[in-house]
């Protein structure tokens, strides 16, 4: 898979605040291309997965939403992926000399890590399918009422520090920043999982996406954990950690 193919430009535009079907000006498009080049040269993509029984993970799978997601699943899979810490340095560097570039870089790398996990998840699903098993969509800490406080434990269970250099701060923020962790259910019967709705989302009242009548689970917008929006830049939101399909 060529990395650039994992970046859906439409999603980058939307992250930057452009409404659906609205392409940025020529300068911004050119800037996005330049940034993508830099990102491709710098990203050190790594991912891991590990299988557990749902029972053994029970202490960490807190919240109603993850329970609903894993209905009919006897096992589950922890997955994690990262773009590496040099991407963070690249964004920091851009923040000093050109904030526009930094914001575009932030958007591009957020969409990239999303694409990476998407791809990884698809591969894993195929593998299991060949064994006659079904894999739900992925569900990340911070989505619905699944708290991000489990982040550190999930990483420990995955031995993610040693295997892919992925850690969390004591406040449960993933470092390197452009990283994702998630849980997928495994079942002997066809399952898709149950993505949480808006009612348990931390961003329920401020979500632009919701105001536009969409939910993260339905819209093409990908909002994921670890996304850096600060003072809600653009006209759309980040959150404490959502993954959507």
């Amino acid at each position: 898979m060529i990395l650039t193919e994992m970046i859906i430009l439409e999603d980058v535009y939307r992250r930057l605040g452009y409404p659906v079907d609205n392409k940025p000006d020529e300068y911004t498009c050119q800037k996005i291309n330049e940034v993508m080049d830099q990102v491709m040269k710098t990203a050190a993509i790594r991912s891991i997965k590990k299988e557990f029984t749902v029972i053994s993970l029970e202490p960490f799978l807190t919240g109603k939403d993850i329970d609903r997601h894993l209905v009919h699943c006897h096992k589950c899979l922890l997955i994690a992926a990262t773009l590496g810490s040099q991407i963070d340095t690249l964004i920091r560097k851009a923040s000093v000399s050109d904030m526009n570039e930094a914001v575009i870089m932030d958007a591009v790398t957020s969409i990239l890590i999303e694409g990476v996990v998407e791809e990884f998840e698809a591969l894993v699903r195929d593998e299991y399918h060949q064994q006659g098993l079904y894999v739900t969509s992925r569900f990340s800490p911070g989505y619905g009422d699944f708290p991000i406080t489990v982040q550190n434990e999930l990483l420990r269970l995955l031995d993610a520090g040693r295997k892919i250099g992925l850690y969390a701060t004591p406040t449960h923020i993933l470092t390197p920043r452009k990283s994702i962790t998630a849980v997928c259910g495994i079942s002997t019967q066809p399952v898709t999982g149950h993505l949480a709705g808006c009612d348990t989302c931390a961003l329920e009242s401020v979500c632009q996406n919701k105001k536009e009548g969409n939910t993260c689970a339905r819209s093409s917008i990908k909002i994921q954990q670890n996304v850096d929006h600060g003072w809600r830049h653009g006209n759309h939101v980040a959150k404490q950690g959502i993954i959507s399909r």
Binding site: R92, V103, L157, R162, P170, P176, D228, G230, W231, Q240
Partner: protein
Amino acid sequence: MGTMLQSKGLSPGERPDLYSVTHPDIVTQINRAYVEAGSELICTNTFGTNAKKLEGSGYSVRDIVFAATACARKACEGTHSRVMLDIGPIGEMLVPAGTLEFEEAYSVFREIVVAGEEAGADLILFETMTDLYEVKAGVLAAKENTNLPVLASMTFEENGRTFTGCCIESMVATLEGLGVDGLGINCSLGPVEVFPLARRMCEVASLPVFIKANAGLPDPGSGVYNISAQQFCEEMKEYKALGVAAIGGCCGTTPDYVRLLAASFRGVVIQQKVSVRKSVVCSAIKAVTVDRVTVIGENINPTGKKRLKEALRNGNMDYLLEQAIAQEKAGAKVLDVNVGLPEIDEVSMMVSAIKAIQSVSNLPLQIDSTRVDVIEAGLRVYNGKPIVNSVNGEQAVLDQLLPICKKYGAAVVGLTLDEKGIPTSAEERFIIAEKIVNEAAKHGLTREDVYIDCLTLTASAQQEDVKETLDALKMVKERLGVRTVLGVSNISFGLPNRQQINTSFLTLALAHGLDMPIINPLSEPMMASIASFNVLYNYDEQAKEYLECYAGTTPPVENQDTEMSLQDAVLQGLKKPAAMAARRALKTLKPEDIVNGMLIPALDIVGNDFEKGTCYLPQLLQSANAAVEAFDVLKTHLEALGQEDVKKDKILVATVKGDIHDIGKNIVKTILANYGYQVIDLGRDRSPEQIVKAAVEHRVRLVGLSALMTTTLGAMKETILALREAGIACEVMVGGAVLTPEYAAFIGADYYAKDAKASVDIAKKVLG
């Protein structure tokens, strides 16, 4: 150990380190199995033992270290095997990647090594490390608090870099400098994949090298390693030729692997490694070998630089960082960092400057100060192997600084002057250089790490001595065999068209053997002179680099004045036209009128369009960039007139404790600065105390706080409370994705800023 414990019943979620307390017999048994297999050095079961990882386990670091060391000691009884205190990564990333401060990492390691020595370990082993900065904290903790030998091993990927980007050359240069006793590679890969990396390490390291590879590569599905003990041993035989000092196994290996290894390597005489010593300076990511002309950027030095002085006084780190990045882009290979101003706390400024610059640039740094305490503080927090600028022939200076350079493993610049000043003749300067090199050797610094500066005198004042500098340079280079460094620009002081003299002098100095010119890399003629020199002296083979840089280029012709209005330039986000329009406007208007009558109205239009949703964030920021160019023109103009800048009030911004999201805060900063506010940016992960302190210090009337996570909103509330309790007469605006106007009011903020535009509206309201 982990592999073995799992076979003895450790379940996947359990902490292996606790087994030394709960199942000491099993741990001793495993230790003993390795001793019996032939291990002369065995590891304690303490890989994950540190205060951070043990939190909530009910055990202290001391408990575990003592229990594990006792197990290992017992296993070694009656043999010659020795016990290594095994220390793995802390498990959190250090600043800037994470939030763990270097000083805190040091304390975490200190607790472990002190306990280890007391418990009876024979050596300390840091292993599976990926962050050189973390290793430095550990090695310093071990060297400063124990008398045990220290071994350090990092884990590399096939590309020769660790997860955090550290390369083998940087690891070797830094850790040899810090005085470890052995260097190694462990984990990640099998013997075959590690081999080329081991060879690279053996080539550059003068210290003993040890290797602990995995049992091949893990199966992606089962996680089982793919090579047998026989295969492992067979593949390890290749290593005999490298002259490695010790070998062992990491993940997937068992006592069986070690037994075969021990048998195979028994009686093998370690070949004396012949490594060629080179002059290397580095950051964790980038090692620079001084075997070609190596430019040191001189721009981070306040002498004669009004804006840098002002930035240092205001603690405006962004300006320093801009200088660092601009010099790196222009081709500097090392950056000099001097933050000496009498009215500031130079020690803490040096520490902040080094940390900040290393967070955005991978170039090695030259720590430049006249004060020993400043240099030492800088050396301590530097990640990599830096250069110290400088010592000189004065005995007292040598006695004071050389031991510090040695301790922290820095290279050092020696100036050819002493108690009596700068000698006139080349011969006398050479004698001082010789003394410096000899004194350095007495303190254990090899001549590869001494760079001699023969000192440039001003041509306008001491014209007859200019040639002495060049002659001295040649003598030092040829007779002492050390690298040379020279601040070039001083030559032209007091003369017109300084660049011309500087460039000519630089070319002459290069021809006389100058390795490291300290110059302004943004000066194109000087960089071109170096590029030409490299062609003419056949260093740039087939003029490849020269052609890459200059082929097909014609000297740039400035864009014709487009007559575009300042407003249009800002609205369209065009930097050069904005600067040109500002220059034109200055012919008839005062800077203040340009700001208030042209720039701000243009920014207002963009801001309003953004608010209405007819323009988007990238455009808003591009307009901001164009406005910055125009502001720069005005600033330079005022500076030339010796007048004060057009400035509005100060605003403090910060991301609260525990949160490291800062893009949003940085956008707000950019836009506020556009409107002329002086933004004091404290950065991210800032405690209430730090924010209160800065608010008092800068007497701000408006504070902007950012938090992105539901989990860090609490810290925001605490910060507001702390500001109120301190009785600071300031208003607080807050922003961040999870905030709502209601929640902002609930935590006691005065304003909710939904975006950067809103923060400007608030600033206008509060500050005018």
